[in-house]
Symmetry: D2
Subunit: 393 residues, 4 copies
């Protein structure tokens, strides 16, 4: 079979429907709120509207109410949802819920799926993924994991401190990564646990104030103190947490890229419309060479990101190891999206830094993506190591 870059017609149609829905229904809500995460009532309204429009939870299998999109299909649809900061939330494909659904479908038992995946896919609750820890714990280096889980009669006791646990406040449950063997610094020895929000051993200590503010439930600092869970709450097998993290991480990295790429296109859209209208020095801004250079570079950055995302998705869909491609897509897209938003803001001048357009908000939201899910530097290090290792063979 030859190279083929068009998505299947059904997916193209879903993408277009998503685009229309986001522009017509979601953007007005986002603009009214200035892009700060809406409260839960607004979330439920938006999700009801998405369900009515047939653009809800498209990545989940049909069994759980979705369209069963593979990664290549998601690339097309998620980009359209990302046009608005609230588009992914409306379509129930926002981080971290989207990645958690992916993980649960791949790893959870039937019972766990009914209990957690079904309501999550339906939008009845939100979730969080408690992995990152304050220094010197798990962060750029996941092996530094400190949080421990000890066997106790009938299950486990988890103790530790997490932070940047996105969406923790108001989540129905957490997937918590804890060390079940070895010591901080060891590779391996982690296990994933499903922890119900009602569990008194898990507490949200604070919302960490961050540059970005658009994700529901914020970024929280979470304490696990004498947190008891049943043996049945282990997600997958004991000591296999890092392997599952990998199952989640590469796709999650890419879906982040897809969503932010949509936002980059939105920023470019705002800037180009402005440049086409703004009169300056006797012409329009869009006729001035330096503005044209910025517009062109935005367009190139967007197209190049898309190509890298597609390649990594394709490898994942084929079951190939895609860590290298996903890392390259992540580094490039995170930096490209940042450049696109920055240039778009610059193109709009003083208007760009004002709240009259959302570009300042976008700049705040996309900046952390160069750090979240692995800083660019950590990915570059990993990319280079793989290249050198291959060269040494």
């Amino acid at each position: 079979m030859a190279v083929e870059l068009d998505p299947p017609p059904s997916v193209a149609e879903l993408a277009e429907r998503t685009a229309t829905f986001v522009r017509d229904v979601v953007v007005p809500v986002e603009e009214r709120s200035g892009g700060v995460a809406p409260d839960d009532a607004v979330r439920r309204d938006l999700q009801a509207a998405a369900r009515a429009a047939g653009v809800f939870a498209p990545h989940v299998s049909a069994e759980f109410g979705g369209h069963g999109l593979d990664m290549r299909d998601r690339a097309v649809v998620f980009e359209e949802a990302g046009w608005s900061l609230f588009g992914p939330l409306a379509c129930n494909i926002a981080a971290p819920d989207e990645g958690n659904m992916h993980l649960l479908e791949a790893v959870a038992t039937a019972e766990q799926k009914e209990r957690y995946l079904r309501p999550l896919a339906a939008g009845d609750l939100r979730s969080c993924f408690a992995m990152t820890e304050p220094a010197p714990g798990a962060g750029s280096d996941p092996a530094a994991l400190i949080t421990r889980a000890e066997r106790v009669p009938g299950g486990w006791r988890i103790d530790g401190r997490k932070w940047f646990t996105t969406g923790a406040d108001g989540a129905g449950f957490a997937i918590c990564m804890a060390r079940t063997s070895g010591a901080p610094g060891d590779r391996g020895g982690a296990t994933m646990f499903l922890v119900d929000a009602a569990n008194p051993g898990m507490r949200v200590l604070r919302h960490i104030e961050t540059l970005d503010e658009s994700l529901s439930g914020g970024h929280a600092e979470v304490a696990f103190d004498d947190c008891r869970v049943r043996a049945d709450d282990v997600l997958g097998a004991v000591d296999e947490g890092y392997r599952y993290a990998q199952v989640r991480l590469d796709p999650a990295r890419l879906t982040h890229c897809m969503r932010w790429l949509g936002l980059a296109r939105r920023a470019q859209h705002i800037a180009v419309r402005r440049a086409a209208e703004r009169e300056l020095f006797g012409s329009t801004l869009a006729d001035l060479g330096m503005a044209q250079a910025m517009i062109a570079d935005n367009e190139i950055d967007i197209a190049a990101s898309r190509g890298l995302i597609r390649q990594a998705c394709w490898e994942l869909d084929r079951g190939q190891p895609a860590a290298q491609s996903a890392a390259m897509a992540k580094v490039f897209t995170a930096e490209a999206v940042w450049r696109v938003v920055d240039r778009s803001l610059q193109l709009c001048g003083a208007l760009g830094v004002s709240g009259d357009v959302l570009l300042g908000r976008f700049l705040r939201e996309v900046r952390p993506f160069r750090i979240y899910d692995g800083p660019s530097e950590t990915h570059r290090w990993a990319i280079a190591k793989r290249v050198v290792k291959a060269a040494r063979r």
Copy 2:
């Protein structure tokens, strides 16, 4: 006389005193507030402390209570004040007051000085500079000025709309730039007017919500409707406004650079301290090559900015035309400071985007400087035009 790069000992001593004052007194206040502009009571307390420390209004002549620093001396002292977002406010050298004092000393009548400069230099009131207009008015292209002033018996009537009038809310007076002859697009034909805050013809319509939030009085949209001023309220000569704007703009551009350069050094300080402590992958962050590259590039950006600022200051102090040097210093420093803060934040990882350090705030504050006081693109255009013009001769 040979090249000599040390400031006079008295200035070096003042700079050191300023540095100590800012670290000991101002930074704690800034950190408590998260860097958002303090209310007027806090401003008065900080300024009283600066006065007590002998570091208040250093740029004003002794007659008005200052140290009479020339531009080269300001470069040394203002950089130290800029270490904190509130340092310039405390020392009464924040924009736009500092530039207005400079302008009033150069252009105002003795009576105007007593009425406006003396209380401004003493910190008894704040001021604003109403020049920028919403598109298609004066902005990147100052000649697009729309606001008009018409002669009426006993004085003038001003009508127009300004925006991004920094500090307008709560200011004791405004310097308003209005067209007194010609039409929008004409070079020349503008006049500066002193407008008392009590004047019913001047109204603050709104605070423009902006990415930056550290300047007192915010960025306002201001209406001048049938605003009557006396003939004595003309600042300098009628129709000479653009010339005075130049008197104000080149130095103001440079003092902006000096202040932001101080903040860049602070960002680097935070990041380097963090890198020196943070353990990662078995060493400290400061031992990793990619972190070292960022630290070195910060250091170089800071040093290169300082060199460009110094050159432009020296030309201004010698009475030479310094528009080219000032424009180069502005473009480079605005972009360098941005890079430094961005790298510093990256070096701090997730901590960097959190409110636990102020780097996210710094990023928001310095971004607009690539637009305020002329976008980088406008300056590049002007720089190139001068180079080409010289080559054609």
Copy 3:
């Protein structure tokens, strides 16, 4: 049909065979010569070897001895050929011959094909494409075309001056673009002519000394003085030259990208091998963070270029207008390849600038690609114009 990024197995196999051939047969010849264009005897030897290896003229249709690759297939195979500066020559897919074959297959009459395409596809002769003129003629702005062709009894008379006519010296024929109606600056009005090398009206005036030196026949300045051609030597229709140029240009842009991408991979290969071996400061160069950043950025630049090339190829193969995609691929790849070679050279230190490796030669060869086939700036201008035009609709 879903997105599919693997080439057909037969193409993958051809690509692999090409890679082996280039590494085993071509690279030794290139390294001996330092990468400077070989003489015609060497060309013929290399091409005979390629024919024997079954990797000759793969893009031409079977009728003319090739494999009839579409653009997507070429992307895979040409990249392998580009691994060596002489790979494309050996495989008879070097510029400008490759583009001329493409054009002749699309536009020429059966008789013209027999006369020019068949021997060209067989490697019996080389060709050139005489379009670019010295300033103020056709260059970044093709409409500035000055060279004129006037009807004379039985044919045409061409008069004008061309430069940067690649491969002109020793070419068997030229395709010459001349104005047949309108005046310089008019869009339209050009015609393509087939001019035999034996024609006394066409003379190579000089080899222009250039930074790059690897293309056979050099870059020549060519004079057309009272150059008589037959009516049958018109290629395609009169006054349709710009349309045919477009037929040639977008694919030619992309095949340039494919070839240079192969060379970028080679540069990375040399640098990584060196970094893996070189001991420095107690570790290998490949263990140092700044080196890793360069290696990773090379890898990302290569992958991103490939994605953009593939997208444009796909659009061309589908018969869609691909000017925008081709322009984006060209700008990005030309600059990415340049960065990759520059970083690779830097990774090799003093060795990198020495003739002991070919990186200095590669740097010289790839630099002009940011100018040839349209400078990056011209393409950015065109890209932005299309974006703005679409936004205005």
Copy 4:
């Protein structure tokens, strides 16, 4: 004393004289030769002309025929000499002779000065500095020094291999750095030796073919085999070679910067003149925004380099430790000069890569400066280490 950026009038006058001499006398010779190092007869003619013009060996003390310029003064004069690739040679301030004169004046005995410095300062002979070794010897890491000198009756025996020994072919003598105690990897333990060209133990093995070709005597690989020198041929004290290297290196780094900065100005001069004349798309190239951005960035890069050089010179002249400032000036200038030449070439389009202007040659000449005298990465590493060390105190 206040900050003062003008050089003394006598130096300004010397700089202007140098500029005139280079433009009128040196540039024509350089353009005729294409910038490739001239033979010794041409060198002698150019130097005679420089002597006649009073612009010869200006950095040497009056005792040896010069003007005794300090580093700040050299910054002004050398930049003018650097306008042409051959300017420094003509003025006898080219590498490595200029740095060797500096070193000999600082360290040599009276007898050594008469024997080597006097004829060198007079242009009667050239010299070389044999320090860099092929991997794994001394290079980015000077402590890796392998070449050994052993005490023998009446003197020393030197054995080892050097490469990139600039100017070795045809030099009258070499300053050779050899290990006299410790082992490769140890800091310290090196000694400098004066080796006469007539010494049979020193042989030029080959000219290393390099990207750059403008320096007299090329970059050579040199063998020291049983090379006997007298005890009096030790330069300075035994085992103090690294300290003297430092005496030479910081100034030499800066004088490199000064010379290349002059060449960057020349490149900008060529490009701007071209942009001012070239008609394109109905205006001149100099009126197009993207061209203006390049022209402005060139101007800024030049000015910023100058500021950094001046700062480091000033610290050296004051006897302060200037390693940090010199390293920052070196990294920034080497990369800035490269950018300036690259943009200038781009501004000239196809003409830029042709031999009709010298920009392709300049590109080749300046590229190695990002590697010679310490690669940018090594300097960034050293800069960061000093910053972190200071922060830890």
